[in-house]
Amino acid sequence: MSHHMLLAGPAAETTRVLAYWVLAVISVTSALGMILARRAVHCAMMLALVMLSLAVMYVELGAPFLAFVQVIVYTGAVLMLFLFVLMIVGITAADSIIETIRGQRLWAALGGIALLVLLSLVIGHAAIGPSPPATAKFGNGNLNALAQLLFTKYVFPFELTSALLITAALGAMVLAHRERTGPKPTQRELAARRIASGRPTPLPGPGTYAQHNAVDMPALLPDGTQSSLSVSPVLSGPTPDVSDYPEGLPEGSSEAEPARLASPAGSAGSADSGGQEAGDQW
């Protein structure tokens, strides 16, 4: 039973070349897109695209199991983690184009080109012939061969990585966790705070009386104007509501900082549970 690659035979050859070039173009453009996109979310999406194209390449290179792991673990989990953190940081945070450090871009470009030239020099000199004929372990025997290799030759690194993962998890928890410094606000306090805040009634839900009730569609007030309070600040992003700045818009606030999240005057930064007022003061 010839265990061989999913795609075999001459016809496969052209498809493999075609696939390579398509994937190459996709991955490079999306990589460039990633570093050039102004908004972080777009970068994340671009990165996802690159990862997926890589997954396909793995398949072509005879590493089907790795391809799936790439898709599931890497793109699925790690990238999503990015998005999750991105949500915390503020989805609308976009970098400004102007470069603050003098000569950074110039030198970065020069460094990149030099690195490129250097590595290509290396590859040029390296004698990389055509790949040897595919054997089973690159085909569907890949998983068994991998498992055998992993638990014989690389068992010690395997144990080490498990230790690494545990410490990483523990580290993340320690870093991100914040002890509660004050007493947990009781129901009574929340009620009192709600009344004192001057708006005891709940905010209108997104999309009320608007065209559609998408999450980021602001509701319409009786006089027809849009109510910014109806959209969660995480989504609303950089369109600062005029009412938040009695003294007028601070100039140059196009900076990534969503003014909205700056905690309104008065309330201390103490940790209180994310009340209806969206956008916790983290």
Binding site: A31, L54, Y74, I101, L116, F138, A168
Partner: protein
């Protein structure tokens, strides 16, 4: 015929793009993403070499790289959130107190 050299060349390009990305972008998260890109480029090269040397060691190393990348992302982002919570900004340039 698609020889591993093609893939290695691609990985080089991706790696350089990642490196330049790290240098150019100011948002911490995007920097992390660029680092991830560089790691992925490295994985690609590993797999290409595995294929070339007709052995699976490369692929296994790629696994380990993924594990490390995951750990790195977890800790990195944790640091980032704690910085963000204290400083209200995710820009890499704002954390420049450790200077002359």
């Amino acid at each position: 015929m698609v020889s591993p050299a093609h893939f290695i060349a691609l990985s080089v390009i991706l790696f350089v793009i990642g490196a330049v990305g790290v240098l150019v972008r100011r948002n911490a998260i995007v920097v992390f993403m660029c680092v991830e890109l560089m790691l992925n480029a490295a994985n690609l090269a590993f797999v290409a070499f595995a294929r070339m040397h007709n052995g699976l060691d490369g692929q296994l190393i790629a696994f380990f790289v993924m594990v490390v990348a995951a750990a790195e992302v977890v800790v990195g982002l944790a640091i980032l959130t704690s910085i963000f919570r204290a400083r209200r900004s995710a820009s890499v340039d704002d954390a420049n107190l450790m200077k002359y």
